[in-house]
Amino acid sequence: MERIYMDYAATTYVDPEVKKEIDSYFTERFGNPGSFNYFGLEAKNAVNDARNRIAKILNADSDEVIFTGSGTESINLAIKGVARALKTKGNHIITQKTEHHAVIDTCKYLESNEGFEVTYLNVDKYGLINLDELKKVINKRTILISIMHANNEIGTVQPIKEIVKIAKKNNVIFHTDACQAAGYLELDVKRLGVDMMTINGSKLYAPKGIGLLYLKKGVPIEPILHGGGQEFGLRSGTENVPGIIGLAKAIEISERIKKTECKRLSKLRDMLINGLQGKIKNVMLNGHTKTRLPNNANLSFLGVEGESLLLHLNEEGICAATGSACTSRNLEASHVLLATGLKTEAAHGSIRFTLGRKTKEEDIKKVIRVMPKMVETLRMLSPIHVD
């Protein structure tokens, strides 16, 4: 049986073009960019070239691109780094309730260990923040706002440019987690107006273990890793040379095909949502109907528990994800779905399909074909009536 992968928001495969470009940096061109010899210079040149290429796409200067080990690390650097650098100026940070745990848990850490105060903005039923609430909570001690561009679970896209305007007017530094947005939305930091932006290779058909932080010149920041002083002193540790080169290549490819992929995937996404809602009763779409990522379909199948449904899907070769408590490490339902006001039961019954470059129309058709029976089976076993 051919397996259908619909978990691209978790991670992507490495694009063959990317793999081809980086292969020799594992074996022949393995030098340490910090070494003063042939191999070192070769590696350093490759890293600089990658930095230049990425900077061009982001419309940034190359020394504004900091390579890290992951999206999580970039987020930690952005939030802890700026908060600590500005702690004499203020101690208030603003974020919102549907952020990735990398943001929320970093903020919580700063709250409980370093005396910072954090406001977690509410979201509406679509997962969008309220700009008036943001304006209201900014105060003289606010030093940082961090709002994701697009949500990893429900795909909701926040109005980043509007948020940036508010941050700028109040002279507050703004960071966005663009890990999920990167392949689909605007990456030009000048047009977005952001001060910091996180991107992650493993969601972008680059290898895992590589991330970057766009850091606008002049933004006060402290490193969180100390050592050899790589990455302008902001991220010590020998550079992940193949990862860096791979990320550059991956961003170039995704920029090149962005328009056509967005169009193609939006169509498949809508086909999936409409197909499932048409064939199965009591299926709710989570997130926004329009302002959502082209590759995200998050649906709650009422009366059914997500892990059970995931196991049925897996048995049919379909690999997706759920916001149910039963697959989370802490046995809690998705904080994102609960923040949008979803009832716990509906959160437990959610399935996230995230599409990508290998997703074909036949895959969508298969999901629509096999799911009604699965849901019917589980509803038959269920003491909860949804009608």
Partner: protein
């Protein structure tokens, strides 16, 4: 289906249990035994019990039929909303009670979650407490039967 992945254990996963299910669990999940097919048939049973709620992510309803002469449970039907281990453990419990012409009520009151887990060929440890609730649903159903059949002396108060 196609090639099957083997679970690779570490000391930590051996201690905590991993996320994957045994073949017995999968068998009971995909082919559940004794679930209540006809929801109109609930009146034919001698005892009913439920446990859990949707907020926690699991809920079970159970119905039993008792042979008064032998004091054995001859039928055990259930409905479960929850994850695969919740469904499989309820299915397994219903089989344990009704196999070999039924289990004596006094014996079925002694069933503990670990007895069900053992028969399932183990469960991920994180699932032990949240999903194996069948013994509680069964006890509630048996006590309901005691009440209905006026055997109040058999109800042990405070036993959960």
């Amino acid at each position: 289906m196609g090639q099957k992945l083997k679970v690779v254990e570490t000391e930590k996963t051996k201690e905590d249990g991993n996320w994957f299910y045994s073949d017995v669990v999968k068998d009971h999940f995909f082919n559940p035994r004794n679930f209540l097919k006809d929801k109109n048939a609930v009146k034919d049973y001698d005892g009913y019990g439920d446990v859990g709620n949707v907020l926690c992510g699991d809920r079970m309803d159970m119905w039993i039929k008792v042979d008064k002469k032998t004091d054995k449970i001859i039928e055990c039907k259930w409905l479960t909303w929850g994850c695969a281990s919740a469904i499989a453990s309820t299915s397994m419990l219903s089989e344990m009670i009704t196999e070999n012409s039924g289990m004596k009520i006094d014996d079925s009151l002694k069933i503990k979650p670990i007895d069900i887990i053992k028969r399932l060929g183990n469960l991920p440890k994180i699932k032990y407490h949240c999903s194996v609730l069948g013994d509680q649903a069964l006890r509630t159903a048996i006590y309901d039967y005691f009440k209905r059949s006026k055997q109040h002396n058999r109800i042990k108060e405070g036993v959960q």
